[in-house]
Amino acid sequence: MSEETTFFLDGEPIPFTAGQTILQAAHAAGRYIPHLCWHPDYKPHGSCRLCTVSIGGRSVPACATQASEGLEVANRTPELDDARRMLLQMLFVEGNHFCPSCEKSGQCLLQATAYELGMMGPHFDHFYPNRPVDASHPDVLLDFNRCILCSLCEQASARDGKFVFVMGGRGMRGRKVIINSASGRLADTDFALTDRAANVCPVGVILKKRVGFSVPYGQRRYDRAPVSVAQAQEASRE
């Protein structure tokens, strides 16, 4: 039996086991730390920086920082939430996020997190990048206008043993998901609807065809409860 150890998240004790990160332990305890690129089934990526927390005045990503006994972690402070809102605004302006016409609206982690943090507007000037849609595959549509470069599709596809999606390129103009085919088209890969990678996208990039908008407004995942509550409910079922 492992020894009971705790750290403190905004003053609340959180139990953890050796090797757990702050975010893992908080999630398991039903406590919400904002995050986008982290998923309980995959390795921490640390790219979105939404989970930035403060330990002794030092900012660290909660997804990649090990919990330790007695650690005092500041999470939902006005300063940290302000930084998180700015990060969200950056993500919204670097892509093309038009929620009213997106099938993922209401079930989108980016959108739900922006609601959670009370992001009222984009603040920055929009980049309006030109990112073509890949509709080549019979069952799945790829709309990279909404991509937040979280790498979850890369990790999931690696676990599928297929490497259909790989993060590559550099900087804002170059970094993107590279498709594992010479043509760059999803249809020319061995991607299948049953892949883990088909279900992992937290935003509206990887979309199953012919099922869009099937859940009515008001009943979608994050209509029913804010992300902080929804995740606590999910964690308690796990």
Binding site: F92, N96, H97, F98, C99, P100, S101, C102, S105, G106, Q111, A114, Y115, E116, G118, M120, G121, P122, H123, D125, H126, Y128, P129, N130, R131, Y217, A225, P226
Partner: protein
């Protein structure tokens, strides 16, 4: 009750569908309460054509053409507080989904090369018509914006909560039930 000066509000729709204005009307009987607190200046509801000095300006729609720019500047000049209302004013919305296309190609396709056009159809050049901008812009890229009220449209309840906060001197907050981008 003290004799408090009514706040003066102006509203307009730029490149929008008037859906946000319809949503304002959706506050239903609360309109009477609102009218006790505010009076309307330029708005489609009053049919006043020019904006005078106002406390609050509500802008629906993005900036898509030259006329939108003129109206937006007039509002900014006259309103102490300017609010971007709805998805189009906030991020360009549906009209901005043309932004990855070249305007020249769009005009050509719509007026000259698409099927179903009358023989000899051409791009209209009447000086009465405002020229479209190369790209659609949300209003905060053209003038300084003080508040954003997102939604497509924001619900009547959201508009009511936002306005009653603003009128009462509170920083408007919507909360989970009222904050939506769609």
């Amino acid at each position: 009750m003290n004799d408090v000066r009514k706040l003066r509000i102006a509203t307009t729709s730029l490149a929008g569908c008037f859906g946000c204005h319809m949503s304002l009307l959706d506050i239903d009987e609360r309109l009477f309460t609102l009218l006790e607190l505010v009076e309307f200046d330029r708005t489609p509801l009053t049919d006043i054509k020019r904006c005078g000095a106002c406390d609050i300006g509500l802008i629906e729609g993005g900036v898509c053409n030259a006329e939108n720019v003129h109206v937006l500047r007039e509002f900014r000049k006259n309103c102490k507080i300017l609010v971007a209302v709805g998805a189009c004013a906030v991020n360009g919305g549906l009209p901005a989904q043309r932004n990855h296309l070249d305007l020249r190609d769009i005009l050509e396709a719509v007026y000259e090369t698409e099927g179903g056009l009358a023989r000899g159809a051409h791009i209209p050049n009447d000086p009465e018509l405002p020229l479209p901008l190369n790209q659609v812009h949300p209003i905060h890229e053209v003038v300084k914006v003080d508040y954003f009220l997102p939604g497509c449209p924001p619900s009547g309840d959201a508009i009511w909560k936002f306005l009653s906060d603003l009128i009462a001197g509170r920083t408007p907050t919507l909360g989970h039930d009222l904050l939506h981008y769609d």
